[in-house]
């Protein structure tokens, strides 16, 4: 059984720690189990069921460290892996950025584990996918989709007395429906901590309506348009921004967060006053572990408050160099929403474009965070407050920083992948060419 309880994990970690002779020692133990179904052409194409568990030891002598891992947990194996890490540490080059271990910490109990999600088995997966296929077949559409669930635990202990444990579950579902002629395509993607929220039938119906609604798209001229980005599209843009919230790169002058003449843009009004971005491990829709991989407590942190940059992430080393708090990086970001609905936004738009999602986004210029990519799976022209017709996909060249300065309205935020973002209405979004892709 690869999912251990807190007590079971602690017992193994304590046993391994007793073998350590290093100045510093950190031992981690983690395991996962889960499965997936992939389907296409209205039939299952591949499916899998995978589990694994492993224990890793990092030993340190001075600023030299070594790491070794094992997937056997008897006494002899534990002793062997600790010994191997120590041997490696003695041979390693010095790491001038090595930081001493943290002592004991207090973390609140996380809310990342859901028993119903953990209980998903191959039959439940097949049933959920069966419902999605039913929508496709009844609608004379072709479905390709993916359902994946996983349960995992992470734990670690160090020689300064720090112990941390977390158990989590997740389930994600996405599906693309296309019409028989290949002229229309629709998509939906959702991730949940609690499988009770997953309704593959209802979600597939949304993708079906996009597939039918996007058929027969007309070409309009590229240029600057007001866009209404559905949460998927909005998340595609803002997700590419968060790696830039790193203090060291900003201090070194090689980030969009770097200030002309030196230093960072912390404290600057870099975005529209409507923009507030934070992470919160205890958020019920997007919960996360209450500790980071190096043992720092993960707390609610505000990164952008009313458009002003409030925090940048620091490694413990860089924080020490700069004499500041070592705010850990956060991956599960939440952008605060507003009160509009997508229907309201459409109603308030004289001329604009509704975007379901973007695709193949890559950095063009890290200096300005300029991104390029394309619209996909449902792009619509809006005129005088109404959706007029589906349009051909566009390539865009736009920066999320520029985009978040051009915010007109925000809707209710929802979870998309590992972010929570609102739908948003943005003015002057730059489309540079047309694509024939459906």
């Amino acid at each position: 059984m690869p999912i251990l309880s807190k007590e079971e994990a602690q017992t193994i970690l304590k046993k391994a720690m007793a073998f350590s002779k290093a100045e510093d020692c950190t031992i981690s133990l983690s395991g996962s189990e889960g499965g997936n179904i992939r389907y296409a052409r209205n039939a299952v194409s591949t499916a899998g069921d995978i589990n694994s568990m492993s224990l890793g030891v990092t030993s340190a002598f001075g600023k030299r460290t070594g790491t070794a891992t094992i997937n056997e947990f008897d006494d002899a194996s534990l002793q062997k892996v600790v010994h191997r890490a120590e041997e490696l540490a003695k041979l390693a080059p010095e790491n001038p950025e090595y930081m001493p271990l943290l002592g004991p910490q207090t973390y609140p109990e996380s809310i990342t584990y859901n028993p119903a999600t953990a209980a998903i088995n191959p039959d439940k997966r097949a049933d959920a996918v069966g419902k999605s296929l039913q929508v496709a077949k009844e609608g004379k559409l072709e479905a390709a989709g993916f359902l994946e669930n996983g349960t995992g635990f992470n734990s670690f202990m160090n020689s300064k007395g720090l112990f941390a444990y977390n158990k989590d579950t997740d389930v994600s579902f996405s599906v693309t429906l296309r019409n028989e002629a290949g002229t229309g395509s629709g998509y939906i993607s959702k991730s949940y901590n609690d499988v009770a929220r997953l309704d593959t039938l209802a979600l597939t119906k949304i993708a079906a309506s996009k597939a039918n609604g996007s058929a027969g798209a007309k070409a309009i001229e590229p240029g600057k348009y007001t866009v209404i980005l559905e949460p998927l599209a909005a998340s595609d843009m803002v997700d590419n921004m968060f790696n830039g919230f790193d203090a060291r790169n900003a201090d070194e002058g090689r980030s969009f967060m770097s200030k002309k003449g030196g230093g960072t843009r912390m404290g600057e009004q870099l975005f529209d006053p409507n923009v507030t971005i934070y992470n919160d491990p205890m958020d019920p829709i997007l919960p996360s572990s209450t500790w980071t991989g190096d043992g720092r407590p993960q707390r609610k942190t505000v990164w952008v408050d009313k458009g002003v940059v409030k925090n940048l992430a620091y490694s413990r080393y860089w924080a020490q160099q700069k004499g500041v708090d070592a705010v850990p990086p956060a991956r599960r970001m939440i952008m605060q929403g507003g009160t509009s609905s997508i229907a309201d936004m459409i109603k308030n738009t004289d001329r604009g474009i509704l975007v379901t999602r973007f695709w193949y986004i890559r950095f063009v210029d890290p200096q300005t965070l300029l991104l390029t990519g394309l619209t996909r799976d449902g792009t619509f022209y809006i005129e005088n407050g109404k959706i007029k017709f589906p349009i051909k996909n566009f390539r865009f060249n736009e920066s999320p920083v520029i985009m978040l300065n051009n915010v007109e309205e925000l809707g209710k935020a929802e979870r998309v992948g590992n972010l929570v973002v609102p739908p948003m209405k943005i003015r002057d979004f730059t489309f540079t060419s047309l694509s024939d892709a459906v």
Binding site: G56, L88, A144, T368, A437, V438
Partner: protein, 545 residues
């Protein structure tokens, strides 16, 4: 690891090096442990038979088993310090079965007789559960077993036998060249991979293979504090299906010209000096005037355009809709292929697929479902003539056999259709790059790969590069910046008017090409000589925030 993550890692443009991500590739180990022999072949055969027999006894009509040991080594440095040395190993077994006409797959890192039987049973259970919702039954192209065979990459020096200290010394020497020549920052990395994989199937094949790959790379950064500008130039190395011999420079493997580029041997110390002077010039270069230009594309750049606009749309799984929910489908639909006259490009466009080129990332003896590897035409004299296929797709387009394009990144992932090497054939007549440039009135000469993006059916693309040289009336007229070109695949390949001869032919490649759900990474090479494309739309990418 997703290709995007890897690129972020290797480009080091944001966030620095994220060493914990390496853990995704396997468990950390002692470098010496990588040199120890893994499980012997006779034990693998014995365990494979347990899997195959159990699967059949539980009702499978076909089964294959892959016992794999995947070794990775990373040595990462910045300026005068080592950031991380990681050795990882991943060992386990993956079993794929056909039962009731449906695929099932299960995998485990516990490679013992008892557990393998359980894993085979789980794979059959997965297949039977899914058969309830399955449409048409899976059909495999017929294949005769090869018996007990083996294949070994023809390397000269196993990267894992080279001490970590030698790699650290090379990288730190390279970094010091960059810093001494005025770089503000430099990150460098050597990434080595070995796949020791054993495949057995109920067709009667027992195939033992040993594959090596290496990727040395760096990024030199220049910062102008006063203006707040920064720019980078990445290495002109290529990931290769080679051992450490790739890092021993050889004069006859160099291509000279505006700057030196490299074939099957790389000179890191020379390239990093050039890169530092390139980035110093690039940060001050003239910003490009948008408009139509004739592009002269170096193989260090063109490989990625071939990969995205020819490699991906000729994947049969995309054409058929298997990737519709993720990577997308393809504009090269079956009717275009059946017509036998679909004009993909100009007459000069001859594009070959292979899994056999020595030193390439795709080279292997047999694919991951036991099909012997070969070479075939995709585009002949500008016309689409074939696709890339695997066993369960071949019958759909009336083929009698698979092209041998099945691959899995690990024992723990199910194998599926992946791109072979896809390469543009050099010009048949003698033709130098200098002669090509002489004829260009208004053009841009592009080296190295930069930003890349293409739509889900592979029509519309946009590419950047590492360095851009303006061509004015047949002469190089200095560097440009903020350059990206946008085109439609078919129009672009029809604008190909000139290709250098085979003396200029080089391989570029992707170490981490992503596809599939859950996403899997594969490595693939793309060869070409320098080529000219007329009248391509160039945009200016400079913005202010």
């Amino acid at each position: 690891m997703k290709r995007k993550d890897f690129l972020q890692l290797s480009a080091m443009s944001l966030g620095g090096l994220l060493l914990p991500k390496f853990a995704l590739l396997g468990n950390p180990i002692d470098p010496l442990q990588a040199l120890q022999d893994g499980m012997d072949v006779s034990t693998k055969k014995l365990l494979s038979d347990v899997a195959l027999n159990t699967a059949k006894a539980k009702g499978a009509s076909y089964a294959d088993v892959r016992i794999g040991r995947y070794l990775n080594q990373f040595v990462a440095t910045r300026e005068d310090r080592v950031q991380g040395v990681a050795n990882t190993e991943s060992f386990g077994v993956g079993i794929r079965v056909l039962a009731n006409g449906c695929w099932g797959f299960a995998a485990s890192d516990n490679v013992t007789k008892d557990n393998i039987a359980k894993v085979a049973e789980r794979a059959v259970a997965v297949a039977k559960a899914n058969a309830k919702i399955q449409g048409e039954a899976v059909q495999l192209a017929p294949l005769k077993g090869f018996g007990e065979v083996s294949w070994k990459a023809p390397i000269e020096k196993n990267s894992f036998e080279v001490p970590v200290k030698d790699k650290v010394d090379l990288l730190l020497s390279a970094n010091s060249v960059a810093m001494a020549n005025g770089a503000n920052f430099v990150n460098s990395l050597i990434f080595a991979v070995q796949e020791q994989k054993y495949f057995a199937s109920t067709d009667g094949s027992y195939i033992d293979q040993d594959i090596h790959r290496i990727y040395p790379t760096f990024t030199v950064t220049k910062v102008d504090k006063a203006t707040g500008k920064f720019d980078t130039r990445n290495s002109f190395s290529s990931p290769m299906g080679m051992g450490y011999e790739y890092l021993t420079p050889l004069a006859n493997e160099k291509v000279t010209g505006v700057v030196t580029r490299y074939k099957n041997r790389y000179d890191m110390l020379e390239d990093i000096k050039t890169a530092t002077s390139d980035v110093t010039e690039k940060i001050k270069a003239k910003t490009v005037e948008p408009g139509k230009y004739d592009l002269v594309l170096d193989p260090s750049h063109l490989w990625l355009t071939i990969h995205e606009s020819v490699g991906h749309p000729t994947e049969l799984d995309r054409v058929l809709g298997y990737e519709a929910n993720y990577a997308g489908t393809s504009f090269l639909t079956l009717d275009k292929w059946k017509s036998k006259n679909f004009n993909f490009g100009s007459k000069l466009v001859n594009i070959v697929a292979d899994k056999t080129q020595t030193g390439s990332l795709g080279a292997v003896g047999w694919d991951d479902e036991g099909v012997k590897c070969k070479e075939w035409d995709l585009i002949k004299d500008g016309v689409l003539v074939n696709y890339q296929s695997i066993r369960d797709q071949a019958h759909i387009i009336g083929l009698k056999e698979s092209h041998g394009c099945c691959y899995s990144q690990s024992w723990s992932d199910v194998q599926f259709q992946r791109m072979p090497n896809v390469s543009l054939q050099p010009g048949k007549e003698k033709r130098s790059v200098d002669d090509m440039i002489k004829n260009v009135e208004k053009g841009i000469y592009i080296m190295g790969n930069g930003s890349f993006s293409i739509d889900q059916q592979r029509y519309n693309f946009q590419f950047g590069g590492q360095t851009f040289y303006e061509i004015k009336n047949g002469k190089i007229a200095g560097m440009l910046r903020d350059v990206a070109y946008q085109a439609n695949t078919q129009e672009f390949w029809n604008s190909l008017t000139d290709v250098a001869d085979k003396s200029d032919y080089r391989l570029g490649g992707s170490f981490n090409d992503g596809k599939g759900q859950p996403p899997q990474s594969s490595a693939v090479s793309h060869g070409s000589s320098t080529a000219r494309f007329n009248g391509v739309n160039v945009i200016n990418t400079a913005r202010k925030i």
